[in-house]
């Protein structure tokens, strides 16, 4: 089979899975829908592997293939086609997306077993994977935008999956609105670029860009900044990030799949894919790097003080994506994408472990109530430790190699970018602290009641019918934990994917070690062939110095966490009192929600009310439609009087009319 055939197959299986599950399994109980969904995604992964093998069999220069299924419109200036681009970058992304998705699907088979929306869940999940693969395989801007919007819609559906829960539906709406803001940015940015290049196709756009755009030309910078708006909204970068923590209202596998491993990395992919444009519009690229760096620091500071387990991981995701955005914006493409992959492994693992822990708590997510689960849940604990060490960047875990790859590049590139590198190290220190704060609080110390129950072999089950987050009464038909719930220790479908990811989180980094091999860089080289920044890699010795510094800093972070939460347990309370204003500021997430509420939501609401009372009622209803109505009414009242109902009047009127006409023609003749 040709390489592009594999590309189409990657897309076909999830789509088929989505449709078949949605139409064929109505009201079905049992796990068959989940098995089918997992199989569909696995076949997609197998096709991605096929595409990889087929690409590796080609020479470096012929690894960029496009294939078009049909044309929507090819008129003057527009070439809208359903086309895919199969090159190392898209295959790399497709492998990560379908691979991690397969594991998360299998995990969900166990985790969601007792949920009444089981079939619906897998249909949505397949739809999401399909959309994400459309996004990464898109061969032109049009298909990219379609995939981009589909992914947002899938995210909305899955965040509001427990649709009777008001917090969930509100979070879904918030995510959707902010994502649509990003879609608008992407569409407008595309237009800025299309206006000059006259083509929607990626390859032709990139070939044309250096000729039609000057260095930092205004239109290109505007276009790239708008593309960045799209990337920021999707990848939860400041200030468009507020939807991501709220999105944790969705089921935990959704958080693992969409809000950690795949969808939120779409912005990173977008910048990497558009690198020929961003290298021309260096201002826009710098904005991307600075925002990424700001996000990684802001999110890390928030993560330190949050008490909701999933939200801590969500802020950590934001922070890590900040690293990736920063990396691909400055030109560390292979490093950024390498971190994307390792992050997908260990963050999905952390979320899965968190899901198991939350199950053990009966839906409760607050770290304040978790304590001492170490002995009760040994498997989950080990997974958490592996994920946490990889996240903190300790050797030999995968996150160590990938995160410091980005920072080493920044330091090597120079020209002011060292500052971002130093801030990256600050972020790494914070990462170590918040990760192990979470682990120490949940797994160490005196076991809480739920942990003690579990040690005696009894899984805690709370009184159902309450929202675990807010304590509100709610409909028990839909919502976690439902009639029963599952933990990894007792469910093989949850255990296997976690074990696989744990192994990957440990060894996933070996394909790119400075001085040993550079698998990802070599594989991705054809995609970044024309780039002048991609080959600007630091020397092996400086990369290793960076790695050692990173490991020391990560260890320091863990040490601080140990000192504060284990060695001297009262320290965190004392620090809270001592730095009360700072704590409040971080705890309230830097007041971003309030700021957006004040700056955007309220003015819009005010404008809406103004438009309703003045424009709608006064001008539209009063003037325009009211005036037209009056004129029509007056005219028809006059005409109506002619219609008397007397037949002979009509006959007379007709005769007189005909005579009049006849006379007129006679006279005029």
């Amino acid at each position: 089979m040709s390489t592009t055939t594999f590309g189409w197959l990657i897309l076909l299986f999830p789509l088929l899975g989505c449709v078949v599950i949605a139409l064929g399994f109505r009201g079905e109980r049992g796990v068959s829908a989940g098995v089918l969904g997992s199989l569909a995604i696995f076949l997609s992964f197998a096709s991605a592997v096929g595409a990889l093998v087929s690409l590796l069999g080609r020479s470096d220069s012929s690894r960029e293939l496009t294939s078009s299924l049909w044309s929507y419109a090819t008129t003057f200036g527009v070439d809208a086609k359903l086309s895919i681009l199969v090159d190392p970058l898209s295959v790399y992304m497709a492998l990560i997306v379908s691979g991690v998705s397969t594991l998360i699907h299998i995990y969900s088979v166990g985790y969601m077993k007792s949920d009444r929306g089981y079939v619906r869940f897998f249909s949505y999940l397949n739809f999401f994977v399909f959309s994400m693969l459309v996004l990464v395989l898109a061969g032109n801007f049009l298909v990219l935008i379609v995939g981009w919007a589909f992914v947002g819609a899938a995210s909305y559906l899955l965040i509001s999956f427990w649709y009777r829960r008001t917090t969930a539906t509100r979070a879904g709406l918030k995510a959707f609105v902010i994502n649509v803001l990003g879609d608008v940015g992407l569409v407008l940015g595309t237009f800025f670029i299309f206006r000059h290049t006259g083509t929607l196709d990626f390859v032709r756009t990139f070939h044309a860009a250096p000729h039609v755009f000057g260095h930092n030309s205004t239109d290109l910078t505007a276009g790239c900044l708008l593309l960045l708006v799209g990337a920021f909204a999707k990848s939860a970068q400041v200030p468009l990030h507020t939807w991501l923590p709220d999105a944790m209202e969705g089921p935990t596998p959704v958080s693992a799949l969409i809000h950690a491993a795949t969808m939120v990395t779409a912005g990173v992919y977008l910048i990497a894919r558009m690198h020929p444009l961003f290298e021309l519009a260096t201002t826009a690229a710098d904005v991307g790097a600075i925002i990424g760096c700001a996000t990684l620091i802001i999110a890390a500071t928030i993560a330190i003080v949050q008490t909701d387990l999933k939200r801590v991981i969500a802020y950590s995701t934001m922070s890590q994506i900040g690293y990736m955005i920063m990396g691909v914006s400055v030109g560390a493409y292979s490093a950024g994408l390498f971190h994307l992959m390792t992050h997908a492994f260990f963050k999905a693992l952390l979320f899965m472990a968190a899901g198991s822990l939350i199950s053990a708590m009966g839906g409760e997510q607050s770290l304040d109530k978790m304590r001492g689960f170490r002995r009760a849940m040994p498997f989950t604990f080990i997974c958490f430790i592996i994920g946490g060490l990889a996240l903190s960047g300790l050797p030999p875990f995968s996150g160590w190699l990938s995160k410091d790859d980005i920072i080493a590049y920044l330091d090597h590139r120079g020209g002011g970018f060292e500052i971002l590198g130093v801030l990256g190290y600050v972020g790494a220190l914070l990462t170590g602290i918040y990760t192990f704060r979470m682990i120490f609080r949940a797994f160490f110390g005196e076991p809480c009641e739920e942990a003690r129950e579990l040690e005696q072999g009894h899984l805690h089950h709370p009184e159902s019918g309450f929202n675990p987050g807010t304590g509100e009464l709610e409909d028990i038909d839909v919502g976690f934990p439902g009639p029963e719930h599952h933990i990894a220790e007792r469910d093989v479908a949850m255990k296997v994917p976690m074990a696989v990811l744990a192994v990957l989180a440990v060894v996933g980094g070996v394909i790119q070690i400075p001085g040993v091999d550079a698998g990802i860089r070599h594989f991705l080289e054809p995609s970044f062939a024309g780039s002048r920044l991609a080959n600007l890699d630091p020397s092996d010795s400086s990369a290793w110095i960076g790695l050692i510094i990173g490991a020391v800093i990560g260890l320091a972070g863990i040490g601080i966490a140990y000192r504060v939460w284990i060695a001297a347990p009262g320290t965190s309370a004392r620090l809270q009192v001592r730095f009360a204003p700072v704590h409040t500021f971080f705890y309230n997430k830097w007041y971003f929600d309030e700021l957006i509420d004040f700056a955007v939501v309220r003015p819009t609401q005010w404008l809406g009310r103004f438009a309703e009372s003045v424009l709608e009622r006064g001008v539209i209803a009063g003037g325009v439609t009211g005036g037209t109505l009056g004129v029509v009414r007056a005219f028809s009242a006059t005409v109506r009087r002619l219609q008397t109902g007397f037949l002979r009047y009509y006959a007379a009127a007709m005769l007189i009319g005909v005579f009049g006409m006849a006379l007129y023609f006679l006279i005029s003749a």
């Binding site: 009087r641 002619l642 008397t644 109902g645 007397f646 037949l647 002979r648 007379a652 005769l655």
Partner: protein, 99 residues
């Protein structure tokens, strides 16, 4: 005989028909008067056809007869329907269809 006489007769019949339509309240009579008007037109058509030695007018007259037959069918049907509903056979009283 000059054509003028034919046309005078035709015009006379047409006027009688028109006045009948306008003045009589009975729908049956109105139908009869309508027939008069149509046949007046037929007379004129045939007269002209003869004057020009052209058959078109005669065919026209035939078609007008067909139309007249149809019109009478519909008209009489309406009158029967009105009668069956025990309404007055008087066009002045059948004036409900108005604006």
């Amino acid at each position: 005989m000059p054509i003028g006489w034919y046309l005078v007769v035709s015009a006379l019949i047409f006027c009688i028909g028109a006045v009948g339509v306008l003045t009589r309240p009975n729908p049956l009579v109105i139908l009869l008067c309508l027939e008069l008007m149509l046949n007046a037109a037929n007379l004129a058509l045939v007269a002209f056809s003869r004057m020009w030695g052209n058959q078109a007018g005669q065919i026209f007259a035939l078609i007008v007869m067909v139309v007249a037959a149809c019109e009478v069918t519909v008209g009489l049907g309406l009158i029967v329907a009105i009668y069956r509903r025990h309404l007055a056979i008087n066009v002045d009283e059948l004036n409900e269809l108005r604006g």
